[in-house]
């Protein structure tokens, strides 16, 4: 996935680190101290449609169905996540119990054009 430079208009992954201290949530989220909230944005011109790693994208499944039924889709290609990973959290619940869990699909690792 191309890295996002401010002036890059193309589809890329925009990285953001969120510190739980900034949310005022450090009292109940014990670990980690923060996490990567990345998201995908940018343009997907036709010649980028379907690149890279698109097979893993939910949108690619829908898109190929549309193509199969419709030689020219009327929509445009979209900048979407193509790979994600879970986030392990250790937190206190309402009763003060300590809970350790893995929340699936929380961190976007890669983006692509559907």
């Amino acid at each position: 996935t191309p890295t996002c430079e401010p002036e890059t208009p193309l589809c890329c992954r925009r990285d953001h680190y969120v510190d739980f201290q900034e949310l005022g949530w450090r009292d109940w989220i014990l670990q980690p101290e923060g996490y990567q909230l990345n998201y995908c944005s940018g343009q997907c011109p036709p010649h980028l449609a379907g690149s890279p790693g698109i097979a893993a994208s939910f949108h690619s499944a829908v898109f190929s169905l549309l193509k199969a039924n419709n030689p020219w889709p009327v929509g445009s290609s979209c900048c979407v996540p193509t790979a994600r990973r879970p986030l392990s959290l250790l937190y206190l619940d309402h009763n003060g119990n300590v809970v350790k869990t893995d929340v699936p699909d929380m961190v976007v690792e890669a983006c692509g054009c559907s």
């Binding site: 953001h16 929509g75 445009s76 979209c78 119990n97 350790k100």
Partner: protein, 217 residues
Amino acid sequence: QGIRSACPSCGGPTLAPQAEHALVLELAKQQILEGLHLTSRPRITHPPPQAALTRALRRLQPVSVAPGNEEEVISFATIVASTSTYSSMLTFHLSPLWSGHLYHARLWLHVLPSLPGTLYLRIFRYGTRRGYQGSRTLLAKHQMTTTGWHALTLPSSGLKGEESGVLKLRLDYRPLESNSTVIGQSGPLLDMTGHQHPFLELKIGTNEPEAGRVRRR
């Protein structure tokens, strides 16, 4: 209809850095709460003592949790009542954790150095539902010959969830060599205070169908 709409992630007006950062913080809150199936952030009125928490975390087995549908829980006894010299009632508040499938449960207790020989312990579950208050079910029997922390396995079938989410465990224990004179001098045998607080270690599967599994047609 979506096909005709512009691709929401394909550019558009770029936000000022502060506005984007504020948006990202709001997104983060939504994402974390949704990921944990919470409607709002928990208000922690009685945080566990830091030392007890640190010790308990150290005792958790370094078993990685399968993504998305299992949780490990440490629940500290919120109320410890000694009903007699050799008996204590522990109260745990577990709801809504309890709605999932509980498949591993251990009770961690700290035996004091004053143990004169072998400690014979029975663990009962006390009913808390209306009509079952006072009823008790034997969950486990254990014999301990050493002092320090002990992890006592409890049958997960005996810990089926209750609406109240409150779990009461009664501990009846006595030294096997019941030489009362010696016992009297040795004082309490189980440490229920401070950072040697008893706690439950649970592994709970959530009820959701396995997240992240793609159904193949």
